[in-house]
């Protein structure tokens, strides 16, 4: 159907003009036609009546004397009027005196019958009955039957002419309208074009050209004004943005410089401090030995101050490391009880200093824990020292218990406590209750911030509940089995070579040097490849036929048949011609290698990472895996799913964290691609929820986000996700390539990990 609204204003104007003129023309042609036909008919009737009168007059005498012949003769004069088909003269009694019938007319079935005077239409013919009178005396009636074909002809001619005029006029109207509509449409179309240029090119410097002083001109003026304003705003905005970016860069650089400076400075400070502490201890011992007891307290003070200073420096170093994202986890399995007792004994002195009592309640089922021992210890130590710092003549309680997969460490004191506002700033670096606190209680104010970071890094957290004047309770919750996903594979014991999947995953290592073979085999096994070895060219060719490797690494310098010959043979055989070959050699002769058909060329000593990357690239797509895509944008989901499916993976999608958790609960995916900014449950929450379940922790996560990550964001994600890809960092293709490699790697890892676990069980 023709939808008027879909068309350009040009077409609309033309159509409107044509419609208007067409309708007006149609009405006038029709009215003129009707009027003409009516006039024609009236005059025809009048003519006929006059004719009837003449005939009547001429037949008066025939009527008087009943003379049929005369009457008939009179009627014969009607021959000159071809439209009259039948005529008759009736006498005053209605009896027929004479009839006339046009030549060639079929004989009427029956004679005409007199009817009332006047005219009427019957079966397409006009019938006229006209009285014959002499004065008031009625003599008879004249009757005509008239063919209306003239009228029909006229009407037909009118319709034809009307259509011709209409079509002609419409054509003229079309030509005129098509030209004249430009007066109105051109400025509008120009304006539309300008808006398109503006919106497509973001070019606010263009201006629409004003052509008239009407409403459109007014519109164009206003539009240009708006463009001017936008241009100004855009310019201002760009300037501000540039300034902001500069400031941001400067700030980032400054932060970086600060962290770097702090790290360096701390390191530089420690060296002389070690000397001060060491020598003060030495002097103390010497003073004790030499009986110089007076000097001992002073030396102790020097030693204490030095140690305090060292602690401060260590804290500063930690915080700067954390902020720079350089803090790493070193996981190990340890018994909790000895560790806790160790910390308690270390802090006992500190606790007793302000006459506090320390109560330790260890749950009997504590058992072992896998975590970063140093960081757990430091976190707990920080809480205990913090408690003893702000408590005098009170009790400090340490509760340690296991809560399912969680280890809960709680430190309660009866100290000064904190107000609600203070609680809010509790875990922020460099902020204590207030500035005076530092003078009164000492410390760096970094302890709690460090504690929180450590706990979060390990997938747990620290919380506080406090009331001013009554004391505070700090609770650390840590997973009993901390998993550092970044080091997942390294943490796993390498799989036995025969447990590795062979299909599409086999590398044939060809080298005459046994140690080089062994090295490569071990390394590639560790990377998850199944490895077959061959020590000579012929052996290699046989192995290729037997195991159909996915990739071949080929040493060039071999006794007997050298690498080049093997390569040539391989490429000659259609069965092995398609297998990618990586040449490994000390001789750098890339062109020769490529000419012979080598796919890649690496020089010895082999860069392991490069080799892995090359082999991964050449290997056929990874074993199909299940990938969960979590993103609130349907376009992004679709794009990623498309990309994944093209690589042979199956993908499920979720539009937010809530839905994603539901899906994970039903079926554990091999990998999760996660957006951060989502409604309901966002990426951060999702990660923290996911990491609470031990069996879900192993699921690798790749974050794809458009959000510019703050340091805090980085810290939240650190240790929990495999990789963060910034949507803005890449163009689409690069993102896809990167993502494909990552996903392949992750799925492969989680697969091998799973296989490994199963085998171990």
């Amino acid at each position: 159907m023709f939808d008027f609204r879909q068309h350009s204003i040009k077409a609309k104007l033309t159509l409107l003009t044509m419609l208007t003129s067409g309708v007006a023309l149609l009405i006038s042609v029709t009215l003129f036609g009707f009027n003409d036909v009516r006039t024609f008919r009236t005059s025809m009737v009048r003519d006929l009546q006059t004719l009837a009168d003449v005939i009547g007059h001429n037949s008066a005498s025939a009527l008087d004397f009943d003379d049929e012949a005369s009457a008939a003769k009179t009627l014969t004069s009607l021959e000159h009027k071809p439209s009259i088909l039948t005529a008759a003269i009736f006498d005053k009694d209605g009896k027929i005196l004479a009839t006339y019938m046009r030549a060639g007319q079929p004989t009427a079935a029956h004679a005409p019958v007199r009817e009332a005077d006047g005219y009427r239409y019957a079966s397409g013919r006009l019938q006229v009955f006209r009285p014959i009178q002499r004065g008031a005396e009625r003599l008879g009636t004249v009757y005509f039957q008239v063919d209306m074909s003239d009228l029909r002809l006229l009407i037909t001619r009118y319709v034809t002419v009307g259509i011709v005029i209409l079509v002609g006029a419409l054509l003229v109207a079309f030509v005129l309208a098509a030209r004249l509509q430009q007066v109105i449409s051109k400025p509008i179309l120009d304006l539309a074009q300008t808006t398109r240029v503006v919106s497509e090119n973001k070019n606010y410097s263009v201006r629409a050209v004003k052509q008239s002083n009407d409403e459109i001109g007014f519109l164009i003026d206003r539009f240009n004004e708006m463009l001017g304003q936008m241009e100004r705003h855009e310019k201002e905005l760009t300037e501000v943005n540039v300034q902001l970016r500069q400031s941001q860069e400067e700030a980032l650089a400054a932060t970086e410089a600060k962290s770097q400076f702090l790290a360096n400075m701390s390191h530089e400070l420690r060296t002389p401090l070690n000397a001060i502490i060491g020598y003060s201890e030495m002097l103390e011992e010497e003073a004790a030995d030499s009986g110089n007891a007076d000097a001992i307290p002073d030396l102790k003070k020097i030693n204490g101050a030095g140690k305090h200073l060292l602690a401060l420096i260590n804290d500063i170093l930690d915080i700067s490391k954390i902020e720079a994202g350089k803090m790493e986890l070193y996981l190990e399995t340890f018994d909790l009880k000895p560790m806790l007792e160790d910390v308690v004994s270390t802090t006992r002195l500190l606790v007793q200093k302000k006459s506090n009592k320390l109560e330790v309640r260890l749950s009997p089922d504590l058992g072992a824990m896998r975590a970063d021992l140093t960081k757990v210890r430091q976190a707990l130590f920080n809480l205990l020292s913090n408690a003893s710092k702000f408590t005098e003549h009170g009790t400090i309680t340490l509760d340690a218990a296991r809560d399912g997969v969680w280890i809960v460490l709680q430190v309660r004191d009866t100290g000064i406590g904190m107000s609600r506002e203070q609680l809010g700033r509790m875990f922020q670096a460099f902020s204590q209750a207030d500035a005076s606190t530092v003078r009164k209680y000492g410390g760096t104010g970094l302890g709690l911030a460090i504690t929180r970071h450590f706990c979060r890094m390990m997938g747990g957290d620290v919380t506080v509940a406090s009331e001013a004047g009554k004391g505070s309770t700090f609770t650390i919750r840590l997973p009993a089995e901390v998993i550092d996903p970044a080091k997942l594979v390294e943490e796993k014991a390498p799989l036995a070579p025969d447990q590795l999947p062979k299909e599409g995953n086999t590398v044939l290592v060809v080298d005459d040097d046994p140690s080089a073979r062994d090295l490569l085999q071990r390394f590639l096994n560790k990377e998850g490849f199944h490895v077959e070895c061959a020590s000579s060219g012929p052996e290699a060719l046989a192995a290729v036929k037997r195991v159909r490797p996915t990739v071949i690494t080929l040493d060039v310098m071999m006794p007997g048949m050298d690498g080049w010959s093997v390569l040539t043979k391989l490429k000659e055989d259609s069965l092995s011609a398609d297998i990618p070959v990586v040449m490994l050699t000390i001789v750098d002769d890339k062109h020769f290698g490529h000419a012979l058909g080598a796919t890649e060329y690496l020089t010895k000593p082999v860069d392991r990472e490069r080799l892995t990357a090359v082999i991964r690239k050449l290997r056929k797509p990874a074993v199909p895996g299940q990938v969960l895509v979590v993103d609130d944008s349907p376009e992004v989901r679709e794009l990623l799913v498309h990309m994944l499916e093209r690589q042979g993976w199956t993908a499920t999608t979720a539009e937010d964290g809530r839905a994603a958790l539901d899906i994970v609960a039903v079926k554990k995916p091999d990998l999760i691609l996660l957006d951060l900014m989502m409604p309901r449950v966002d990426g951060f929450e999702f990660v923290s929820e996911l990491r609470k379940r031990l069996d879900w922790r192993a699921i690798p996560i790749i974050v794809i986000t458009a959000k510019t990550l703050t340091n805090e964001d980085r810290l939240l994600l650190q240790g929990h996700v495999q990789k963060v890809i910034q949507k803005g960092d890449f163009n689409h293709n690069e993102l896809l390539v990167e993502l494909r490699d990552l996903v392949a790697e992750c799925v492969q890892r989680s697969r091998t990990a799973e296989t490994g676990q199963h085998v171990q069980i």
Binding site: N58, A60, S61, A62, D64, F65, D66, D67, S70, A109, H110, R134
Partner: protein, 202 residues
């Protein structure tokens, strides 16, 4: 005519009705003819036809007035009387009953029998009856100088100096006119009338 009409109407009828109707029509017509021939004596029928003929002739006499212009002095003023005189044995019977006293040309028609020459003065038209056949020359000579329209039904009347004479043509009443005679008397006869008449000369 009648049978064709019957046929025409019968065309529309179903076939069996067509036969029946044709039969019935023919029967009834035949019966009617038979009955009338039995009931009315032939003489009576002839008399009846004669009466009808004179009714027509009376009407014609009346109609002639419309087509004749008399010289002004012979016609009485409007509102006067136009008189038709009957010479001889009047055959009209009651045929003039309807016409006598009728208005024509703004005057009243009167019909009277002429018994003496004096009576002729008031007449504008005279009808010379068939009874006067033998003394026609005498009658005509008597009317020769008058301005009176002479009408008769005697054969050769117009040729002998009469103006209009009724004749019979295919069983219809027609008339012949001697235009010279009329002109001679100063009477003008309308061409309308002339075209209906058979023109004769003296």
């Amino acid at each position: 005519m009648r049978s064709s009409q019957t046929f025409a109407t019968a065309v529309c009828w179903p076939a069996f009705l067509k036969k029946l109707a044709a039969l019935l029509c023919f029967r009834s017509l035949a019966l009617l003819a038979l009955a009338s021939s039995l009931v009315w004596p032939t003489e009576l029928r002839a008399q009846n036809a004669l009466q009808h003929e004179y009714e027509i002739k009376a009407a014609y006499l009346y109609n002639f007035i419309n087509y004749i212009d008399w010289p002004a002095e012979t016609l009485p003023a409007a509102g006067g009387t136009i008189t038709i005189g009957i010479i001889g044995e009047n055959p009209f019977g009651s045929a003039f009953e309807n016409l006598n006293g009728k208005q024509i040309k703004g005057r009243t028609l009167a019909v009277k029998t002429i018994s003496s020459a004096k009576d002729l003065d008031a007449c504008q038209m005279v009808f010379v009856c068939a009874s006067e056949k033998n003394r026609l020359p005498e009658v005509l000579s008597q009317l020769k100088d008058s301005r009176i329209l002479t009408v008769s039904e005697i054969e050769g009347f117009a040729e002998q100096g009469g103006i209009i004479n009724f004749i019979s043509e295919r069983n219809k009443v027609r008339f012949e006119i001697n235009l010279d005679a009329a002109r001679h008397l100063g009477l003008t006869i309308s061409s309308e009338l002339l075209k209906l008449a058979k023109l004769v000369k003296s």
